[in-house]
């Protein structure tokens, strides 16, 4: 057991990684802002809906301008826009988180096993990965939407995960191969560790941060895809959602022609924009940890 500990420590010890991470995040103000944005949206998704009960509709004020009562005004049916944004955020983020969960489940497993086994298993798994990467994800999702109803975050997350794990698998495999090249596996095998132990206890912690970076990248794409499917009107509107808001605003609410409806249209757009910006700014820090070449000179 002691031997295991030293082996793990020799590649990356836990604590210094955390310190390096904190250093990388705090080195630029943009990265702190990015982290803050992400935390803000997560809090919004978790706590936001507590402040609102059921969606209150005020049929007397349609497309009302922002006021003390309705901070962002109301939509075409008299619902409070801020309330819709907040409750819609929960679906968007829950789906993104679930799809990330499924993606990492498939992607990390397949990438790790391919990188560990090599040979026939590797080439078979990589063929499969190539295939998943070649099939254009969005058209497939659009067609699948005729077969399945993925209105709930679970189903949507599963579908996104099943179609979107290719990139993560590739990244994890290349990372696993580089661990191999550094003689990491030979050392672990030499110590007589079981395959299960090597995969889960030795390799997984080493590829995890890199996989996390890939996951955040694919999460951006997932958010785009899920909101987009609602925007295109391909998924039944079972819940409030930024995509539903956009669809209603553009295709039935006439927001393009009604100046007073502009906020209703812009609110979800700005949310997506800011959330993307947050992830992008934050990724910059993680990227620096992995690409020393991009690191600026001291």
């Amino acid at each position: 057991m002691a031997a295991t500990a030293t082996l793990a420590a020799s590649v990356r010890s836990r604590r210094p990684a955390l310190t390096a991470f904190r250093k990388a995040v705090t080195r630029k103000p943009g990265r702190i802002i990015g982290l803050a944005i992400i935390v803000f949206f997560i809090l919004l998704a978790i706590c936001g809906p507590w402040f609102y009960g059921r969606l209150a509709v005020d049929p007397n004020s349609l497309y009302a301008a922002p006021s003390a009562k309705h901070w962002l005004g109301t939509d075409f049916a008299g619902s409070d826009v801020l309330q819709e944004v907040v409750t819609g955020g929960r679906y968007v983020l829950a789906t993104a988180a679930l799809s990330a969960l499924f993606t990492s489940l498939f992607g990390v497993t397949i990438g790790l096993v391919a990188g560990y086994q090599r040979g026939l298993t590797d080439s078979a798994l990589m063929r499969l990965t190539d295939f998943v990467l070649t099939i254009p994800g969005l058209p497939l999702l659009i067609i699948l939407s005729t077969v399945w109803n993925f209105g709930s975050p679970w189903k949507m997350g599963l579908v996104l995960g099943v179609t979107g794990w290719g990139g993560v698998a590739r990244a994890v495999r290349s990372q696993a191969l580089s661990l191999r090249e550094r003689g990491f596996l030979e050392a672990a095998r030499g110590l007589g560790l079981s395959r299960r132990h090597i995969l889960l206890k030795e390799m997984l912690p080493n590829v995890a941060p890199y996989a996390a970076m890939q996951l955040m990248l694919s999460m951006i794409a997932f958010i785009g895809a899920e909101v987009g499917l609602f925007f295109l009107g391909l998924v039944p509107f079972s819940s409030t959602n930024w995509g539903v808001m956009l669809n209603q605003a553009v295709f039935s609410g006439g927001a393009m022609e009604t100046p007073s409806a502009l906020i209703y249209l812009l609110a979800p757009l700005v949310c997506i924009l800011v959330l993307t910006l947050g992830i992008v700014l934050f990724l910059d820090a993680i990227d620096e940890l992995f690409n020393p070449r991009l690191r600026e000179r001291v």
Partner: protein, 330 residues
């Protein structure tokens, strides 16, 4: 046989296998769709007074097979029709071959996509060079963030924002369609002018969509080339700055061919949102409309075409790379 021809043959073979896999996948996908589309169609024809033979022939014309055949012969019939370039017939436009619908839609996707790709390539690559050379400065950092942002923001956000700014707010450009209806389609100046005017926003949306990818790829490529030994060597030999810039540029642009293939995928995905937002009658719009009307042959045909285009784009990008890089060419 030269190494290049061997590589070309290998790539083509791999591409063909991939196409075959996708075709098979599409076949079974349509099969898995609810309510067995072929059977429903068959029932409808029977109800409208056709006899069993006529109805079966009609269904066969649309799908390439009937569900009375065995699975294998259905698959064979589908493959056989595809080999003749026959994608079946549309249901909602009764009797119109799917290939006609696709041919009509294709230019409205391909031309804006290619124009957008060209614009974004020029801007993105230039910005990428600046971002790489000035990577320690504030402006370089901002450029990089702009690249990541545009690479991450979904296409419909870009399209809608463009629409809000240039149509709703400033009313500079039209919001929908390919041209104003008062002009007769054809080679006359007012019509072409109107088409160009209507194409501005979609092309901008496509350009913004792929700008980030070019910028990020070019930046990391330039950063890596700048660190190469031969760049320092050329400086120590007193090579003129213009020549050195050419060395850097040509070496840095090479890996971008992989991005080109990637961009096609992003663009096709974006075409759904962009064509939907601007009501543009391209391939994405065709696929979306076929979903709405459950026009399965059109759905399968458009999906197949998009996938095959991406496979071909991948092969072409790889070949370009091979032609330019002497290390692979040999």
């Amino acid at each position: 046989m030269t190494a290049f021809a061997r590589r070309l043959a290998g790539k083509l073979a791999a591409g063909l296998v991939m196409v075959w896999v996708v075709v098979t996948f599409t076949f079974f996908l349509v099969h898995a769709l609810p309510g067995k589309p072929g059977d429903v169609q068959y029932e409808q024809y029977i109800q409208s007074g056709m006899n069993a033979e006529q109805a079966a022939a009609k269904v066969k014309a649309i799908y390439g097979y009937t569900s009375h055949d065995s699975m294998l012969s259905q698959y064979g019939g589908y493959l056989g029709k595809l080999l003749h370039g026959d994608l079946g017939q549309s249901i909602s436009y009764s009797g119109v071959p799917v290939s006609h619908l696709i041919w009509a839609a294709l230019p409205w996707t391909v031309i804006p996509v290619l124009s957008g790709l060209l614009v974004s390539f020029l801007i993105g690559v230039t910005a990428g060079v600046v971002a790489a050379v000035r990577r320690s400065s504030r402006w370089g950092g901002l450029l990089t963030v702009s690249g990541s942002l545009f690479a991450g923001v979904p296409a419909f956000v870009l399209a809608l924002l463009l629409l809000v700014v240039f149509h709703t707010e400033w009313n500079l450009l039209p919001d929908a369609g390919t041209s104003d209806i008062q002009y007769d389609p054809g080679w006359n100046l007012p019509y072409i002018g109107s088409v160009v005017q209507h194409a501005v926003l979609p092309v901008c949306a496509y350009a913004l969509l792929s700008y980030g990818g070019w910028l990020l790829a070019m930046k990391s490529s330039v950063v890596s080339v700048l660190g190469d030994d031969f760049i320092l060597a050329s400086e120590l030999r007193g090579i003129a700055p213009v020549t050195r810039a050419r060395y850097i540029g040509r070496n840095a642009i090479l890996p971008l061919f992989t991005v080109l293939a990637l961009s096609f995928g992003v663009m096709f995905a974006g075409s759904f949102f962009i064509e939907d937002t601007f009501d543009y009658p391209g391939l994405g719009d065709l696929l979306l409309k076929s979903i709405g009307t459950r026009d399965y042959p059109v759905m399968a045909g458009a999906f197949l075409l998009i996938t095959v285009s991406i496979i071909i784009a991948n092969i072409l990008a790889d070949l370009c790379y091979t032609l330019i890089d002497p290390r692979v060419r040999r």
